[in-house]
Symmetry: D2
Subunit: 298 residues, 4 copies
Amino acid sequence: MKIGFLGLGSMGQAIAANLLKSGHEVWVWNRSPEPAQKLVELGAHAAATPTQAFTADIVFSMLADDKALRAVLLDSGLLAQLKGPLIHVNLATIAVAFAEELAALHEAQGIDYIAAPVMGRPNVAATAQLNILVAGPEAAIDRVQPLLDLIGRKTWRLGDKASSANAMKLATNFLLVSAVQAMSEAAVLVTRHDLPSAALIDLVSTTIFTGPVYQGYGALIGERRYEPAAFKASLGLKDVDLILAAAADVSIQLPTADLIRANLLDAIAHGEGDKDLAVLAEVEEWRTLAAAGQTAPD
Amino acid sequence: MKIGFLGLGSMGQAIAANLLKSGHEVWVWNRSPEPAQKLVELGAHAAATPTQAFTADIVFSMLADDKALRAVLLDSGLLAQLKGPLIHVNLATIAVAFAEELAALHEAQGIDYIAAPVMGRPNVAATAQLNILVAGPEAAIDRVQPLLDLIGRKTWRLGDKASSANAMKLATNFLLVSAVQAMSEAAVLVTRHDLPSAALIDLVSTTIFTGPVYQGYGALIGERRYEPAAFKASLGLKDVDLILAAAADVSIQLPTADLIRANLLDAIAHGEGDKDLAVLAEVEEWRTLAAAGQTAPD
Amino acid sequence: MKIGFLGLGSMGQAIAANLLKSGHEVWVWNRSPEPAQKLVELGAHAAATPTQAFTADIVFSMLADDKALRAVLLDSGLLAQLKGPLIHVNLATIAVAFAEELAALHEAQGIDYIAAPVMGRPNVAATAQLNILVAGPEAAIDRVQPLLDLIGRKTWRLGDKASSANAMKLATNFLLVSAVQAMSEAAVLVTRHDLPSAALIDLVSTTIFTGPVYQGYGALIGERRYEPAAFKASLGLKDVDLILAAAADVSIQLPTADLIRANLLDAIAHGEGDKDLAVLAEVEEWRTLAAAGQTAPD
Amino acid sequence: MKIGFLGLGSMGQAIAANLLKSGHEVWVWNRSPEPAQKLVELGAHAAATPTQAFTADIVFSMLADDKALRAVLLDSGLLAQLKGPLIHVNLATIAVAFAEELAALHEAQGIDYIAAPVMGRPNVAATAQLNILVAGPEAAIDRVQPLLDLIGRKTWRLGDKASSANAMKLATNFLLVSAVQAMSEAAVLVTRHDLPSAALIDLVSTTIFTGPVYQGYGALIGERRYEPAAFKASLGLKDVDLILAAAADVSIQLPTADLIRANLLDAIAHGEGDKDLAVLAEVEEWRTLAAAGQTAPD
């Protein structure tokens, strides 16, 4: 089977490498050529253009954001020239509304569009332990399943409406940022009561809140160490914007997301956008300093 | 060693029973006599008054709330009549400021006051699997440690300032209610996108948010089943009030706690106070109905 | 000059009547015929269809909401059939994005589109004392100005981008609902401190907050009298949704608008949607009842 | 009649000067002596100590904050040495709970305590145009009324519970900061839609929101001019803290006050504490910059 793969950031590269290991013919494309070159060394074929990557049976994409995907696939006229049978598996976390638009546009070309956003960081992708949320035409998913099994630990099937997988992914991301915000507030509470926030994190992450989020982000908050960023605050804002857009699409409010967005904007306004999302804890810290009549450190 | 035990609600009863099992002489007291009677059948001695229960080497208390403890111990004049050596281990979750007041009043009588709030529900208490947060005079804690080992799986020592244990406990409670609020918002997000919220809970509670909180409260939210209440919304409000008081004590804000309090008040105002804390999900649900021009069911 | 007028709700009727008084030939249309009939008795001509109302030099519209305007003007194909020279003056408060869409669509037909949302209730419209926010092609506004002078006390010119007038109108509406929300919170504060909220309103509305908003909505809050509604809570929600959409269009948050929306949804969920916007005060009142362990009255 | 006056900041000085004009014997005291000297030049007597100022029939105080008043009157032992008949008129905006404490302590000494917080800035005080909120023993207020008439335009009587006047004053302050916050949000809304915020302020402050607050703070926001501060952000925080304390006293929440406090803390954390309260507009502005990926100016 011939596989195309577009978008070779740290996630895309790790996933594409796992597809390669199984002996498939994989044609890779990336806007900047270096990441493709690395995969060629592992046996991939370099596609000169996105169009060439799409001359495959199944094409995966993992582009940076909605804008990049729109540029490569729609604004370029590429999708309008494609014809099925072809399966496009979009691994990226994109807006729900954009997923609906893409599903309709693919269907008009006779192409199967599968939304398959993944849960996990690059290191998880590298060990093929991703959780994959998948939705789209059932027969197409059945065909793709063996490939998904090569890159993840489990596939969660969410029906035939592709955008459902994106809505579910955004809901999990919302829970993640909410947990970081809650730990940020809890950290200032215990700190102001003369307890190390690391003690709180140790306590909860080994008892009532096991799992990687409280442990991982908790450690950063407990140590007040936000660099190097595993997940930048500015990318956190992008996610929160997608979450709030998905809420607005159905006329609902997410009050916690609203307050997290405001805090992220505070962090970014004051130069912390490139630090880890866990820097939300510092925004709460600034406020406690100000309540004591002090200013935040530069 | 002679042990006193005041307050035999479902938590107190389970804990006292575990102390009894080890063969200690335990004198139990409760405002209403029935629960004491049950323990007497297991070998306890019934104390006729709180004063009698305090004629022991070590006294545990697990009274319903700050008000009950203040009535029994302070307003009655009991503490003012007591003299050390004596150790009082308060297992209840109380206000940080009240813990500080109690520590000072005990010290004035030459009595060791240990704050030892516990994490876990009655079923966890019954199997002696509580996590115990403990703070107070170190030597006294060393003496009590063998007893704590009889009732919990682990003791977390938090220094010699008793109120620290209460601050830490309230921080964990804050994280708990924040997780319930986050799941409540996430549930309406996926529901409005035509996905069952139970699918979201299943996904996250087996991947990134393992542990009992997301699993337990998540199940209630996923099934929209709030009765019988394991932990009533009205008690949740009491906890949030303690949390916010602990924050106000040190001039900080907890924006998520503020919004949760407002939602709990909404729930209670509309007759849901006796349902489980997870009913926070219905408050968000009401709003989504209203956004569609509908009213909440009676 | 021949004038068309579409939309004869209480506002539209009062405005059209003022145009009639000056002797202009006014062709009126309304979805239900009764209101048009009343104006015919005052000298207006009844237009059988929106199309007929648009066979004029200048057409005013004051339709109920974005949806109604979209149905009458766009979905019907009407605008696509029209040709300039023609001036369309839209008096309604509509979404900023929709105003931009309308401006572009009119321009494509060679028609001048003027946004002219008004400030004031029907009684203000009746006495031609409206404040009119106007934006659009300058020459067209110059031509329309004498008519605007017949219906308002002052025209506020906001440049040639029509949607600017809508953005400005929504900002004033935001200030209005914010003032109502602030009075609602202040009312529970003084009430709980055993002072009549009417005393607060009397104090501020004659000193630091003169003007009709604090006086008018304040009186309703002071008397806890929400019926008959001068401006329904459900319409308040519609306005807040337009405000938040205008904010989202430019990627900003309005935290006060977020919390007002949640409160309005609470009010509507519990059956208060047809009461006056001032019923926001009752939402705060419910919460204070709940904090005292009570439920809201049915 | 012999009058004492403690606290000669810009407000106290202006008020004391008006009492002097009427020919009364006024004994003035201030922590630093210079302001007293100015009044001595106008005919006042310099009191060497607070105690000497209290050897009068009626004593006014206008000290900087709760802490200053507590230091001068309570911690010093002064009040405990005083005996009635004597009337103490406290013009300052203090905490409701502190007012209750003061009323009880004065009553125990047989002294009439009148709370008389004032509305208005120093320039308003200078022209004797203050609005005076007054509560306390009725007969005492009757005796003081002629003096209040010398310093204000109107006295608002709020009953015999002194703290009521403070609760009412804090409610008006809450409405004031809420209006500033609302204008701050509205300003970014119109600015991002390419309209000058000054145009919005001009529009509303001459139509629906007349009165000094929208006009005065609106002008600062419209011009983004926050220095010199007429009312510092740090003092605004002090007021908001008093407001929230008054709310907590009666177990209520003021969600708008919560969000304003967070914004004030943001402003103070980032070095804007000495600028005018209107700098709240810049906090919203920072967020809009951050939403565009930019940082706030230093």
